[in-house]
Structure formats: C-alpha cells, structure tokens
C-alpha cells in the first residue's frame, strides 16, 4: 500500500545546509518510556537555550507523539536529532512504529477525532506546536511522525 504523506513548512530551508550535531535513539516499549522521551526533549531544548515556551512546545509534542506510538502503534522508537542550519539550532524528533497505521490521515489530523474515545488532540495539537511536521503512514505497516522545532532568536 502506498504510504500517505502529510507535511508542512518543510520546504523553507535548503536541507543540505543543515548539520547534524547529535543523534539519540530511545525505545518506546512501555508506558514509562514516554516520560523518558519527554525528558530527553526537555533537557536538549534547555541545553540549546530554547525559551520556556519553545521548550514546553517540543516537550509536550514529544509526549503526545510518544504516547501515540505506544498506545496506537504498539511501541517503537523515537530518534532525536540535534540540528544546526547555519544560523540557529533545532531539534528534530522522529517517532516510528510498525503498528496498524492510520487509516484516515485527514480525519486523524483534523483534531477532535479519536479511535480510543480520547480527545483526539495529540496529532493536531502537536502539529500546531512545532515548526515542521511530517507524517507517513501505511495501513498494516506503521506510522512515522517527524517534527522539528527551531530555536527562536
């Protein structure tokens, strides 16, 4: 099945100028791992001097997407990348699982929709908190969500 891809604001920068300063892979294999992923996001954002708002944004988005990876995707991993685009630092986080995939991406991203009778704010909400958001999913194969948050000047 063809993967569905959704992205935004990804084309603003030339990717070749972005340098990778560090990379961390964290498993998401139990509920407690959600907290570890969230802590990693927070500690890196603080280490790079993100302000309190940007730190809360990336940390909360990480928490939402890690929970989705665990609850809906049956677990997987988070890959965190420390980026530098020549003028500013950024954090990229990719959440991968090999779960059932998202059947209706538009529905899931619209917000307020959930297959678990929750609020359905995780995907749509985290999308609003970050600078770049890309989702790739295929039925029966899994879901990957990549977000990037850049440090403000």
């Amino acid at each position: 099945m063809r993967p569905v891809e959704v992205g935004h604001r990804g084309g603003e920068r030339a990717p070749r100028s972005t340098r990778l300063l560090g990379r961390h892979e964290l498993p998401i294999a139990c509920e407690a791992d959600i907290v570890l992923v969230r802590r990693k996001a927070r500690s890196l954002a603080q280490a790079y001097g993100f302000d309190a708002f940007a730190t809360a944004a990336i940390t909360t988005a990480a928490s939402e997407l890690a929970r989705n990876c665990w609850v809906h995707g049956g677990g997987g991993a988070a890959v965190v990348e420390e980026l530098y685009d020549g003028t500013r630092h950024g954090l990229a986080m990719e959440f991968r699982d090999t779960g059932p995939g998202i059947g209706d991406v538009e529905w899931a991203l619209a917000g307020g929709h959930s297959t678990t009778r929750s609020l359905g704010l995780g995907l749509s909400g985290s999308r609003r908190l970050v600078d770049e958001f890309a989702l790739e999913t295929a039925r029966g194969e899994g879901t990957t969500v990549r977000i990037v948050k850049w440090k403000r000047f």
Binding site: R39, A52, T55, A56, R67, L119, L121, S124, G125, R128
Partner: protein
C-alpha cells in the same frame, strides 16, 4: 504514602504537585484526591500546579476531570499556578478548558474558594454552605 501530599485546611484540601506527573501518577493523584474529599467532606480543593513544567493532553485531561469529579462530590476545584508556557501550550493545542476554574497562585486560589463560598451556593453539600 502518596508521593503527592494532600493537606487539609478546615474544609479545603490543598494539593501541591511538585513531581513530574507520568500517566500512572496522574491517575493515582486523581484517586487520592477524590478519596480524601469523601473522607473529609471537604467543600473546596486547590491543586497547585506551579511545579509542573509539562502538561500534555493526558495529564491536562486528568486534572480537568478531577475538578469535574470533585464538583460532583460537592467540592469546588481551583487549579492554581499554571505556568505561562503550560497555559500557552494547552491553548495552542486546542485543549478544552471550559469549566476549569483557575487562579494565578495558591493565595488567589484559596481566596477564590472563600469568595465562592460566601457567594453562589449551587451544587454544594447541604449544611456546609456559609449562610
């Protein structure tokens, strides 16, 4: 012992969250708070969340639900001390915060409850409202 102590001041319960809330701990807090309301007959609850650096939709929902549940048990709830970045994040995510009473800090939270008691009385336990 709960990692999040719940203090009783007269008919008000005070609960300060100073540890990071994971899902299990948030659920435990909810149960502890509701159990304490039942035991003490408290008519007010202030949850001080100034120590919370991250509130995702899961924890926000538990906090909001706890307030609604406490309300059904006759206790008014005030969320006190939400950090600016937490408020901004929840609003940007579109988290529904209607029905959640909030105060800048603990003092304001207690004042809000005291004010509510001498004002409107709907929904309180009989015999526990101020004249």
């Amino acid at each position: 012992m709960s990692p999040i102590p719940i203090l009783r001041i007269g008919t008000t319960l005070l609960c300060s969250v100073h540890v990071e809330l994971d899902d299990a701990l948030a659920e435990r807090l909810q149960e502890d708070v509701l159990g304490t309301i039942e035991r003490t007959g408290a008519t007010g609850l202030v949850v001080d969340i100034s120590g919370l650096e991250t509130v995702d939709s899961y924890v926000a929902r538990i906090l909001a639900d706890t307030g609604r549940m406490a309300r059904l048990m006759g206790a008014d709830t005030v969320l006190a001390g939400m950090r600016p970045e937490v408020a901004a994040t929840l609003v940007r995510m579109g988290f529904p915060l209607e029905g959640v009473r909030a105060a800048l800090d603990l003092d304001h939270g207690l004042a809000l409850l005291a004010h509510g008691r001498s004002g409107a009385t709907e929904g309180r336990r009989p015999g526990r409202t101020a004249p």
